[in-house]
């Protein structure tokens, strides 16, 4: 039956722009290598302009390329929760920052999006989150690439089962946080002389008093704070997604396909009047690229709950 009201049976898969993604990732990696390998001597003498320029352009530009590559492939349902994740990041991060805590808690939204919608959406959420936050707090801007990396890694961790058991989550958080801390440290050092909150600076001061170089001290602090921060964030996100109604989780093809929450995303009983909480499995007429590879049980995605 050819119809003007129905969709073609085989939806065109929205492809990521791989070239952009590869370029962005390469730029970020190159920037990091440059900062760590080529420049560590400079910081002791002066504030260094090349290093800060490179870190600003490399990480921001890399983040922008990544976002440009990822966005075209995202389904509407992934797209819609990204602003939500960004708003959560900023709202919670502002509070944690203003309290001068030793951890940042500014990645809860990113990790949440990554767990539900996958690594690509997570990475884009992280990067755009810091760009938007830059409107209120420009100091967040240069950390965009690091935030993207957190989203990417969190999504990968979710894909391989880190959120199927609550005790896996802190382990994944530890690893992701350590990587994130490694990447963020040179940015903090070369852009701002490692200035942070009083809490984080106190930790750096301890390492400095033992004679460490600034980059080394900041890296150690990053490893400590970020790991702790991400352990807490991953556990919080795990507990939140366990408390979500199964139907809310199932509306995301990524979470469904990779059984991100394990057996918890089993079947739920539907009620006829979903009410305001009618968690409809709507939207995404095409799945994320992540699951187009494995052809999930998509069937008819314009759902009713």
């Amino acid at each position: 039956m050819s119809s003007s009201l129905t969709l073609a049976s085989d939806p065109a898969v929205r492809r990521p722009r791989r070239l952009l993604i590869v370029l962005g990732a390469a730029l970020i990696a190159a920037t990091y290598v440059f900062l760590v390998v080529v420049q560590p001597a400079e910081i002791a003498g002066g504030v260094g302009s090349t290093a800060s320029l490179v870190s600003l352009f490399g990480f921001l530009g890399g983040g922008a390329l990544l976002v440009g590559g990822i966005l075209p492939m995202l389904s509407t349902s992934s797209l819609v929760i990204m602003p939500l994740g960004i708003a959560l990041n900023i709202a919670i991060g502002q509070i944690a920052g203003s309290l001068g805590m030793q951890i940042y808690l500014d990645a809860i939204g990113t990790v949440l999006v990554a767990v539900l919608a996958g690594p690509a959406a997570g990475a884009a959420t992280g990067a755009i989150s810091n760009a938007v936050w830059g409107l209120f707090n420009p100091l967040a801007l240069p950390f965009a690439a690091g935030a993207a990396l957190i989203g990417l890694l969190a999504g990968l961790a979710a894909r391989y089962g880190a959120f199927r058991r609550v005790y896996f989550a802190p382990v994944a958080g530890l690893v992701v946080g350590a990587v994130g801390g490694l990447v963020a440290a040179p940015v903090a050092v070369f852009m701002f002389g490692a200035a942070g909150t009083f809490g984080t600076n106190a930790i750096i001061a301890v390492f400095r008093s033992m004679g460490d170089k600034l980059l080394v001290a900041a890296t150690k602090q990053g490893l400590l704070s970020d790991s702790l921060d991400k352990i807490v964030v991953f556990v919080i996100v795990a507990l939140i997604v366990y408390a979500l109604p199964p139907r809310a989780v199932r509306q995301f093809p990524f979470a469904r396909t990779y059984r991100v929450l394990g057996t918890r995303t089993g079947t739920g009983t539907g009620s006829a009047d979903g009410g305001t909480a009618g968690m409809s499995a709507t939207g995404s007429s095409t799945g994320d690229a992540a699951d187009s590879r494995r052809t999930p049980t998509r069937g008819n995605d314009a759902g009713v709950a």
């Binding site: 708003a87 420009p138 008093s209 170089k213």
Partner: protein, 249 residues
């Protein structure tokens, strides 16, 4: 009232970014100070709400400056000219110089960008992005995120009150705090996801996935001249930076 807008927000934002780039390229404290005093200060004063913007800059940069001063002023093992030895900590000239230079850079960085952002007309920026044919998904994510932030904060406040009415008392220990955080975050996230699933359906119904360019209800405040100006600014800063960096030792 915000001042009357002369330039398109994209032009203003770009100008601010290029100014930051120049400050980083030139890397002289004299230049940074000049930008701060001759560029940012008049802009803030003319913005129509100097007190608010000044306060925001102070709130963002202030704690950072202070903690940076404490960190480098007291702990700078590379420093040789010791002013005071406090046992664990040593006040050194090099440390104080480093803190001052970094502090100045941070201040310029935050002040320039925050002034641009605080006077930014975001709807106008989003409209310009739409008129210039930027990716509609990017425009949606940015616009919707900015719109959601106050909503999220307000909702979190409401939920906190509701949980208090049910007996939530936040204790001092980290576990009690985390439990309190969860009792607020969980309904918050569920509520936002419920909205999001409805919004997904709404976007599909309103043709958000349509091919071709989007149009905007708001008029285009961009002009061909401003577009040329933007290109010229980028080129000028690029050439200057290259020359400066090659010329400088």
């Amino acid at each position: 009232m915000p001042r009357r807008r002369i330039y398109n927000p994209l032009t203003e934002l770009l100008a601010a970014v290029l100014l930051v780039v120049l400050v980083l390229v030139v890397d002289r404290w004299e230049f940074s100070l000049a930008v701060l005093l001759l560029g940012v200060l008049p802009a803030v004063l003319l913005s129509g709400r100097p007190r608010q913007i000044g306060l925001v800059i102070a709130l963002v940069a202030g704690p950072l400056l202070l903690s940076s001063l404490l960190l480098h002023g007291l702990f700078f093992p590379e420093g040789t000219t010791v002013l005071a030895d406090l046992g664990v900590a040593r006040v050194t000239v090099e440390g104080l110089t480093f803190a001052a230079l970094m502090g100045l850079r941070m201040t310029v960085f935050t002040a320039v960008l925050l002034t641009a952002a605080a006077t930014l007309d975001l709807p106008d920026l989003l409209a310009t992005m739409t008129h210039r044919g930027w990716n509609r998904k990017l425009v949606f994510v940015v616009g919707s995120a900015v719109g959601l932030i106050p909503h999220v904060a307000e909702r979190a406040h409401r939920i906190t009150r509701a949980q208090q009415a049910r007996g939530l008392v936040v204790g001092r220990g980290p576990l009690s705090r985390m439990r309190a955080l969860l009792t607020v975050l969980t309904p918050l996230v569920i509520g936002l996801l419920v909205d999001a699933s409805e919004r997904t359906r709404m976007l599909e119904a309103r043709g958000f996935s349509s091919p071709g360019p989007r149009s905007s209800y708001l008029p285009d405040s961009d002009t061909p001249r401003q577009r040329r100006t933007r290109r010229a600014m980028v080129a000028a800063v690029g050439v200057f930076s290259a020359a400066w960096l090659v010329g400088a030792p």
